[in-house]
């Protein structure tokens, strides 16, 4: 074999090996992510007694009651509806208030602007948990317990900093000539904001809306405190209560977990671009 032949073949082998080992690592990590989810899904079709005798295999006989009982129960759908309503309301309030504020921060020069803006950015550093105790006492004082507004408004308030920062960055990049042209054509400040800026900012608005929805959907601490009555429970509160109620029936709890995960995962596959775009933008800007 001539040296040139060795040289020309070995890089191909090496790159093939390299590709294989990279894929091997990725498959192991991928399995670590998928297996718990799959375990939940499959176990939901088993009897709890079968979980320890047959942990890995498919169910010996498929038990569908775990899922169908839940899907037929009003409580589960009620929680889905509550989570959805609260998430949409939160997103609406957050984005509306933030867009207006971001417009002012991006396109007006006035004394104290940076101070007020900094005040909002400081809000980024406050963990929700810091304010939850006084927040709860305030909500109780104003009679907002057992009331969805008691969850929607604080969630919106804590969503403001990130949303304002992202939208302000976007609004700033809209060319100034556009605004001048609109004003010359007799557009008021609000007209420019409503008819030109917001339609142009649709991608950014989609991003922050998705962020607000996901954050609200996953919130647990606040709804746990505000809603003691099951009528308003959201999905995370419901899952936790269900776990307490059916402590021994593992398969049933896993079925609930899987059903509770489904909407979030479905939403993720649809809104993945906005979600990831928003998170990276928020992180690099904040």
């Amino acid at each position: 074999m001539t040296p040139t032949a060795v040289e020309s073949r070995s890089p191909r082998i090496w790159s093939w090996l390299r590709g294989l080992s990279m894929h091997a690592i990725i498959w192991v990590v991928g399995a670590a992510i998928v297996v718990p989810l799959l375990y939940g899904l499959v176990s939901g079709f088993k009897d709890t007694s079968e979980l320890s005798s047959n942990p890995f295999g498919p169910p010996r006989h498929w038990v569908t009651e775990n899922y169908t009982d839940l899907l037929q129960s009003g409580a589960f759908w009620r929680q889905i509806a509550n989570s959805t309503g609260i998430a949409l309301a939160t997103a609406l309030v957050t984005v509306a208030a933030s867009a207006m504020a971001a417009y002012v921060f991006a396109r007006f020069a006035f004394r104290g602007r940076e101070v007020v803006f900094t005040l909002f950015t400081i809000g980024l550093m406050f963990p929700f948990a810091v304010a939850i105790l006084p927040l709860f006492i305030m909500l109780r004082t104003f009679g907002l317990l057992e009331n969805p507004l008691g969850v929607v408004l604080p969630q919106a308030a804590f969503g403001l900093p990130m949303t304002i920062i992202i939208l302000r960055g976007f609004f700033r990049n809209v060319p100034g000539e556009l605004e001048e042209a609109a004003i010359i054509d007799g557009c008021s400040a609000f007209g420019f904001f409503w008819r030109i800026l917001l339609p142009m900012a649709r991608p950014a608005l989609a991003t922050v809306t998705v962020l607000a929805i996901v954050t609200s959907w996953n919130n647990f601490f606040l709804p746990l405190l505000v809603f003691t009555e099951p009528d308003w429970w959201t999905i995370p509160v419901g899952v936790q209560q269900f776990k307490g109620q059916y402590a021994e029936d593992t398969a049933r709890i896993l079925a609930y977990v899987v059903l509770a995960m489904a909407p979030a995962l479905a939403f993720y596959t649809v809104a993945e671009r906005q979600l990831i775009g928003g998170l990276t933008a928020g992180a690099t800007k904040g």
């Binding site: 990590v29 992510i33 718990p36 979980l51 909002f120 810091v130 006084p134 609000f190």
Partner: protein, 329 residues
């Protein structure tokens, strides 16, 4: 980039109105502009002040009282709550456990996320799918994740024990959440499962903003893959890494949901965090003044850390972060 609001009126000088009239018109415009500013800022400002700033100030105030949470606090005790707090072994343990979780994140989770980002930044088949998959746990709530893993790590019957048996490690008898020796590590495993994808996504965005020609230039100068990573990629990724460390720390300070549904802080406080202790005192034992003091300490830690970080670590990144954002649009 800000557009000045004082726009010169078109074609102003030729048929200029008398000075007085012009001044009146300018004044009216300024008034209208001020009304716009106030009107547009008001909703956000009111929400933020009422539901973020006031609660934090309220916590500061009530932390100085012995107070059960009903009526107006009137039993002023000065800093007694804080003195008590820093003698409380559970709370000191919270601080230690928070530190351990942060250290584990920075030393294990973030490097792992970075490694996966570098892998997925290669020209691999199916990398878009893997990225989607690795990030997926992030969109699940901590509660759902927590309940799922409580079942998986259930002693004897859970999936984790079966896997340990399968690979011949069953004799180690690891009891996961149930033992105070392993509970923190188990918690950290679940946190990594849920959050490494998020950091990976941040790193991927950072990696993609590194110009290709810089790496090519290094390669032409004879730098091997490791050298290119160590001396080109890593420094250029600095801003992203620092942000991701920052987010890890803030996340660890407020960790509640995951702990609450998996262990509620047990066994015997072995996995308790500041937020859990605060919850216990504030909502179960009605020592609201004392719980407020915990809130205040959490606030001060995040505040001081953020200020310090902003001042000494993030400041030099600001320029780069802003320009890289603009490049992506």
């Amino acid at each position: 980039m800000t557009v000045s609001v004082r726009k010169s009126p078109p074609g102003s000088d030729a048929a200029a109105p008398p000075a007085r009239q012009r001044r009146v018109r300018a004044g009216r415009r300024r008034l209208r502009e001020r009304a716009t500013i106030v009107g547009f800022l008001l909703p956000a400002l009111a929400l933020f002040a009422a539901l973020v700033l006031v609660p934090i100030l309220f916590a500061l105030y009530t932390s100085l009282f012995r107070w059960g949470g009903f009526g107006w606090p009137d039993d002023f005790v000065g800093l007694e709550n804080f003195v008590k707090l820093f003698k409380d072994e559970v709370f000191l343990g919270d601080l230690w456990r928070g530190f351990v979780l942060i250290a584990l994140s920075v030393v294990v989770q973030l490097p792992f996320a970075l490694a996966m980002a570098v892998l997925l930044n290669q020209n691999l088949r199916g990398r878009a799918f893997y990225r989607l998959l690795f990030f997926a746990p992030y969109v699940l709530s901590e509660v759902i994740t927590g309940v799922l893993f409580t079942m998986i790590f259930a002693p004897d019957s859970g999936l984790a024990d079966h896997i340990m048996d399968l690979i011949g490690l069953g004799d180690l008898g690891i009891t996961w959440f149930a033992s105070s020796d392993t509970v923190l590590i188990t918690l950290f495993l679940v946190m990594t499962w849920k959050y490494f994808g998020f950091h990976m996504i941040l790193y991927l965005a950072g990696l993609q903003s590194i110009p290709k020609d810089v790496l090519e230039a290094a390669a032409i100068d004879g730098a091997g893959p490791w050298q290119r990573f160590r001396h080109v990629t890593l420094p250029l990724l600095g801003p992203t890494i620092r942000i991701s460390v920052f987010l890890s720390v803030i996340g660890a300070i407020q960790l509640f949901d995951l702990v609450w549904v998996t262990t509620a802080g047990g066994p015997v406080h072995a996995s308790e965090t500041m937020a859990v202790t605060m919850f216990q005192f504030g909502f179960k034992r009605y020592q609201v003044g004392y719980a407020s003091a915990i809130s205040v300490v959490m606030f001060l830690i995040s505040f001081v850390f953020a200020l310090f970080y902003q001042r000494y670590v993030l400041r030099r990144d600001l320029e780069g972060a802003v320009t890289s954002m603009r490049g992506r649009r």
